[in-house]
Subunit: 290 residues, 2 copies
């Protein structure tokens, strides 16, 4: 089975898990909006959770809860990021964004409730029998998602739009380490935390992977096809924002991303052949078309 | 010491705890907005946590973390509720709302990060040495705050504005049990959960208290003074929304609130004189002017 098929299958299982969960929530528009928001994504973060869990001998029936949790956080961040007051996007995953399909109030509340749901899922016994392991996942997710992680990165990204000078490479790197890197790192480390193992060996992998992911995003914004990507492209260029492409040039950015993928692959050498799927995930992030 | 002094002192300690926490977060506008959002409230929910904890022999140096967590959730819900796409309020606690003082993007992100912070605080060892107790607080807070609790109530409230017919008393009661009742209930039960005790004895108290609180809010909206309340009043009447006052009449609403406070006080009889402060809290919710 090739990597993209494996990724799509895992994403389908995580989305089904979230849909089943939400079936118990009633039929208000906000619940429909939550279900809609967790549907159709690549599911890379959830996949990283399940793969790092497998690497540590944790079953998928267990790791799927942490995978669903991180996908819920990711979905909430996209719903809020797409709002008119933020990035003002009307297209996501090839579909109208939540505030376009419903309205802004529903998008704000559905996003809020998706974040809550993430912590709800991590607090369950199915996620890890040992409460200390659940608490470790919750504490680290809160750090990765909050005002010292993802949300800080989103705020830095918005501030950059009105900054007097374009960001430097160091500033962009820090911004992206927060905005997308923190959640990707949490995902890759989650398997170790589920097993009560040291997450450090996966940290180098995840850090390189997160940065490669964002550089690839910037390349996709310039080179990609909007229909395939399922979202508007060339937004950064139009907004005059500094990106890895504007700072390194297109070829420079591609070279840097490729070097990072190599770095990510090498970080997995202690795991030998069992980590082959995570290596494929690293190669995928720079080869993807959406 | 009278009740309002005790409440103000406790609120000051919770706000100081949150301010100290946020000092470690850097100096971005979003951090300032978070600090601003947790400042100046009555602090009733945090007070309920600390009082129910005291009733169960849990020290304030421990219960303050859960108190800070629930105040962070409450503050986030107000910041998002005040947004133009929601209630569109420009005044809160006598001060400009977050999106007025900063902007909408900052308000959305500061609210998001305050929710994350709540789970962060509950996951710490200071909150409860036993991870199982921390997980119990996290799981129940997620249920109370999410799409089966507070956020559901907010969505029902917004839906009511465009509903064909005004809500019935049963519908308003259910809406409010979600919108404000769930978090008040969590707060009053938290002390038992921190002690590993059965939270059921406090449930009857908290349920009556939560409903009395909302009826009092509706009465305040009609009878209150905007300057004392620190927020715009008469909004429900202007919007033609059904409230406990419109459904029961002003005197009927007052009688119902008073009966609920009596019910709440009686529910505490197993605790004897040690629960006097919680009884005073119940009397306070219908006597308050803001």
């Amino acid at each position: 089975m090739n990597f993209q098929t494996a990724l799509a299958e895992a994403a389908g299982r995580v989305q089904a898990c979230l849909a089943t969960e939400l079936r118990g929530y009633g039929s208000e528009p906000i619940i429909d909006a939550m279900r809609y928001a967790v549907t159709g994504g690549k599911g890379l973060r959830g996949f990283l959770v399940m793969e790092s869990a497998r690497l540590h001998g944790v079953s998928e029936s267990q790791s799927i809860w942490a995978a669903a949790a991180v996908e819920a956080v990711h979905a909430y961040s996209l719903v809020h990021d797409d709002l008119p007051a933020m990035d003002d996007d009307d297209l996501r995953r090839g579909q109208p964004t939540v505030h376009v399909k419903w309205d802004e109030a529903t998008a704000i509340l559905a996003g809020d409730a998706l974040q809550t749901l993430a912590f709800d899922l991590l607090a369950r016994e199915g996620c890890a029998r040992d409460p200390a392991r659940r608490v470790a996942l919750i504490a680290t997710l809160a750090e990765a998602a909050g005002a010292r992680g993802m949300v800080l990165g989103q705020a830095q990204d918005i501030a950059a739009e009105t900054a007097a000078a374009p960001l430097t490479l160091a500033q962009i790197t820090e911004l992206q380490a927060n905005k997308t890197g923190a959640l990707i790192r949490w995902s890759a480390e989650a398997g170790a935390r589920l097993a009560g193992a040291d997450p450090a060996p996966l940290s180098a992998y995840a850090t390189a992977l997160g940065l490669a992911f964002q550089i690839a995003d910037d390349i996709l914004d310039v080179e990609g096809d909007a229909e395939t990507a399922g979202k508007r492209l060339r937004k950064d260029e139009d907004a005059g924002k500094a990106t890895f492409v504007s700072l390194l040039g297109l070829e420079g950015a591609k070279a840097r991303a490729a070097a990072l993928v190599e770095e990510a692959e090498e970080a997995l050498s202690p795991f030998g052949a069992t980590a082959e799927t995570l290596r494929a995930a690293a190669r995928f992030v720079i080869a993807r078309e959406k």
